[in-house]
């Protein structure tokens, strides 16, 4: 048949296709499964995500067969690393969702799983995209499925309210994003970012720069950079906590991944004179996140502001726009998965029965010593205190900034880490030095325990023996195409 040829490199996206088909199948199956057996559907989604994660290992080991350039996408070590982070998070979030509520209270577990998988597919496409249209579509796939996930508990007022706020900010920022795309298209006559560099000529045109700024707004919303962060605490507090866990890790990592691809590789922000802008954004993000977190009394909100601050740290690796910075970014994103997964899992185990106010953590060490010790280690890791993994991540990020001459950025980040110790330790204070309201032990379901074990293992092992992980991050900083044509 003429005109209907298979696009080049379509085979590179097989994991994404598999997951999409699975998601659609789950939506249909959801109609035929009653609530009692609904958890089987979640388990099915969990297995699918696990298999997709495994298939990435294949791509790592045989780069010539499973990596390459497609029409609108590139599957390179950088993309594969972020895909692994996204799928890993998906796997654990589905594990948490299975134990989140008793089967009788679950509403449409199949659709829930399908939405989680679809947003994972969106993120995986996002980190591979090399075309503005592809970036926009995958960003929207992520956004729209997350809107529904946040508002999934329809009868819960907070859930609906969080979702509508998330939606309004999300739709607003994607409108600005498309407007930015239209300017870039107008300036250069193409949306294909690989071809854009030669067209830039001597200095980039004003219209192109305005378009790039609008793109930053769209990405900044997803990464929750200050001043685009207003939705974060409300959406995180309203959402069911497995969804909060998911949102605080995967979309952030994915959006940072695509930002790194666009502004570090295809059109480097150093050529657009935007380096200072991003440095200022990074400092503003961590400062506002940390200073606001101090005043929070709800654990979900506190962790929401903490995750804003963490995004600010990760942006440092993006500012330097060199291999060392990217290495720090990848390492920190990897470590961040374990730390954040850990704190949110403990918060879920405690909060499911006692609510999410800080007082729920009072005297946790007498109700479940193991849980409180794990929480303390995750919090220390988030604060960047050795010997936990967070220290290694922060160290490589800050070192990259200093080496690139951004010493003021590193100083601001270190000061911020000191501030963050205060509110992380506030939770620890509640756990160890306050009297519990009840001595009834906190129970953890088997899958929650499993997730905690993996998170704890990650935080401790990476902290004590980081060399293989640093080497892995180093190997994953490569982009395809290796050389983008210069103007």
């Amino acid at each position: 048949m003429q005109g209907l040829s298979i696009p080049q490199g379509l085979n590179l996206l097989i994991p994404e296709f598999g997951l999409s088909v699975m998601a659609l199948a789950l939506m249909v199956l959801d109609l035929f499964f009653d609530a009692k057996r609904g958890k089987a559907l979640m388990a099915l989604g969990f297995v699918a995500a696990g298999v997709a994660l495994g298939s990435l290992g294949l791509a790592y080991n045989a780069p010539e067969a499973y990596q390459g350039l497609g029409a609108l996408w590139a599957v390179d070590p950088m993309a594969l690393f972020f895909k692994a982070i996204i799928l890993g998070t998906t796997v654990f979030v589905l594990m948490l969702s299975i134990d989140y509520k008793p089967a009788s209270e679950l509403r449409h577990p199949g659709s829930f799983t399908a939405l989680v998988l679809l947003s994972a597919v969106g993120m995986m496409l996002l980190v591979s995209a090399t075309d503005l249209l592809m970036i926009f579509l995958s960003l929207e796939l992520v956004s729209i499925s997350s809107f529904i996930l946040v508002g999934y508990e329809r009868r819960d007022l907070k859930s609906s309210e969080g979702a509508i706020k998330y939606f309004l900010f999300g739709a607003f920022s994607s409108a600005i994003f498309v407007y930015g795309i239209s300017f870039i298209y107008g300036a250069l006559g193409t949306t294909h970012l690989i071809d854009i560099r030669p067209l830039l000529g001597e200095g980039p045109a004003l219209m192109f720069l305005v378009g790039c700024l609008f793109l930053v707004v769209g990405f900044g919303f997803k990464v929750s950079l200050v001043p685009f962060h207003f939705w974060v605490p409300d959406a995180y507090e309203g959402a069911p906590i497995p969804v909060t866990t998911y949102l605080s890790i995967a979309p952030k990592a994915a959006a940072l991944g695509v930002m790194a691809r666009v502004f570090n590789h295809l059109i480097p922000h150093t050529q657009l004179d935007m380096q200072t802008l991003f440095a200022v954004l990074a400092v503003a993000t961590m400062t506002v996140g940390n200073l606001t977190a101090i005043f929070q009394t709800n654990v979900k909100r506190l962790l929401a502001y903490s995750s804003i601050a963490q995004a600010g740290y990760m942006l440092i690796g993006f500012v330097t726009a060199n291999q060392l910075g990217r290495e720090g970014l990848l390492l920190y994103a990897f470590v961040y998965v374990f730390m954040n997964l850990g704190v949110f899992t403990v918060a879920m185990a405690v909060g499911n029965e006692d609510g999410y106010e800080l007082e729920a953590f009072d005297g946790l060490c007498r109700r479940n010593l193991g849980l409180s010790l794990l929480m303390a280690s995750f919090l220390l890791s988030l604060a960047g205190i050795p010997p936990f993994a967070g220290f290694i991540g922060k160290f490589s990020l800050f070192a990259a900034a200093v080496k690139d001459g951004f010493w003021w950025l590193a100083v601001a980040a270190v000061l911020n880490s000191v501030v963050s110790v205060y509110y992380y330790m506030k939770i620890a204070y509640h756990m160890f030095f306050r009297n519990p309201r009840t001595l009834e032990p906190v129970r953890t379901e088997i899958l929650v325990t499993g997730t905690l074990a993996v998170a704890a293992l990650g935080v401790v092992v990476i902290g004590l023996y980081p060399e293989p992980f640093i080497a892995m991050a180093h190997l994953s900083t490569e982009f395809l195409p290796v050389s983008v044509p210069l103007p």
Binding site: L132, L133, F136, L137, E140, S143, I144, F147, I148, G151, R154, R155, L157, K158, S160, E161, G162, A163, I164, K165, F167, L168, G170, A171, F172, S174, A175, I176, V178, Y179, I181, S182, F183, Y185, G186, G189, T190, T191, H192, P233, D234, E237, G238, T292, R301
Partner: protein, 101 residues
């Protein structure tokens, strides 16, 4: 009609949408503002395609995709507004203040 005319109209449309989205108290009104912003971008893309790259179709393709995506987004938004309205009997942004930061 030159390119500048189209750009002026779309710029105006974008500003009206932006103003509406930021100042409206009714959530439906905010949504309408956001739709205007999407349409400004669409107009831009179609005009650029027609005047600057008439041989290609990239701009028109992006326009089509944007329309479809914006429609999907609005559907989800309206469903959320329905859920809010059933629970709280209001569509005014200032009444939706359970979560405070």
């Amino acid at each position: 009609m030159t390119l500048a005319h189209y750009l002026a109209v779309s710029g105006l449309l974008f500003c009206i949408g932006l103003f509406g989205a930021l100042t409206r108290r009714n959530i439906i009104g905010i949504l309408m503002g956001i739709e205007l912003m999407f349409n400004a971008a669409n107009l831009n893309l179609a005009a650029f395609n027609r005047f600057l790259a008439p041989a290609g179709v990239a701009g028109n393709v992006v326009t089509l995709f944007t329309m479809a995506v914006a429609a999907a987004e609005i559907v989800v938004g309206l469903a959320l507004i329905m859920a809010i309205y059933r629970n709280m009997n209001t569509v005014y942004a200032e009444d939706i203040n359970l979560l405070k930061g």
